[in-house]
Symmetry: C2
């Protein structure tokens, strides 16, 4: 009963690996003019098993050629198509401080199908600033802009205590996917996707590695 055109949902592990393949192949294209790459080459560079590379590519419908490998263009097209980079989704960034500004300036949004249509901040001093061509608006206008542009995705880069109320307002306005950089968990209704970027987990891993390896180095 499985419709061939409705592939199984990919989990986060495979999405992350597909992105690794995608970046790797994008870099390789300049170096390797053949237009083909083998699963063993990819696996070697990413320090993983080549079978897993073939499984992942099979899962998104990329067919390889025995003795030749996988077409680099074919691979990149399939990743783009599968992950939605060929669509256009409007997004907003809530919080135009240093982090929001850094995220807004990141060149990647357009490459992955996301168009930042607005930035919001509650600080009047920031309203009117222009970041990569987009003026910062007051957060009071958020609902209006979201509805006007049919925005379904948002990035939250505000202090922890402001995040949950803003998430509630985003969801009420129609946002269904949130990328949360605030150091607090968000409660959202079913059907709303939240990716929480845990800054403190990064710090904890650095600390743990240093402790495990007795790298006290300087200090005390």
């Amino acid at each position: 009963m499985q419709d061939r055109k409705q592939p199984m949902a990919l989990n986060q592990l495979i999405v992350e690996r597909l992105m690794h393949y995608y970046h790797l192949v994008a870099e390789q294209i300049e170096i390797n003019a053949s237009g083909y790459v083998s699963s063993a080459q990819i696996a070697h560079l990413l320090d993983m098993d080549d079978t897993l590379v073939r499984k992942d590519l099979a899962a998104i419908g990329v067919r390889g050629r025995p003795r030749v490998g996988f077409s680099t263009n074919g691979l990149m097209d399939a990743v783009r198509e599968t992950l939605g980079f060929n669509e256009h989704y409007n997004a907003v960034i809530v919080g135009a401080g240093r982090l929001g500004g850094a995220i807004a300036s990141y060149a990647g949004f357009g490459k992955y199908g996301l168009d930042v249509v607005a930035l919001f901040d509650s600080d009047p001093a920031r309203v009117g600033d222009v970041l990569r061509g987009i003026p910062v608006e007051h957060v009071d206008r958020m609902e209006e802009v979201i509805k006007q542009h049919g925005v379904r995705s948002a990035v939250i880069t505000v202090p922890a205590e402001a995040a949950q109320p803003l998430a509630d307002r985003l969801v009420a306005s129609g946002v269904r996917a949130i990328w949360n950089f605030a150091p607090t968990s968000l409660v959202v209704p079913p059907g709303v996707f939240v990716r929480h970027e845990h800054i403190s987990v990064g710090l904890a891993e650095l600390a743990y590695y240093l402790k495990r390896n007795d790298l006290g180095g300087g200090h005390i």
Copy 2:
């Protein structure tokens, strides 16, 4: 032959979960005055299985009391001790742009045992700026400062093309743990830990979720 004082290395999954417990319990402490929390309570709030919570806590040596639960203070102490938050490790941030500034301003470093002793940038216009009390220095002084302070960890927040040469210099100066925010992979010798923060993976996941759920919303 296993020395009781040399516990097994924890993998990234468990480190991440420990951080979730830690934050959850820190928040609960104000709400729940009893001083104890059960594995079932934690599991419920984090939408996971209570057995896994008990396994994780057992792995870091936290003992619970039947019918009572785990001491919130005991749990937090054990996480701090295990992950190294009670030590002090010096760290530097390389790249004092918006992202570097945002990271530097993040309140967490000290809480997790990391002391930011210096920020570096190659742009003379930024040298002399002060971020959370730390003056930005020219990157030419990096090696000197790292050696002087016995720095073993660094955060890289520079453009992609500058990241690898800087990583090489960091490693040559003694850095053994790197948190990389530049959108490029780093090649480092064995024994050097790199945590790569993949901004594009976050974007890809948003795009994929929107595509999977036909949330075209606005645009085109």
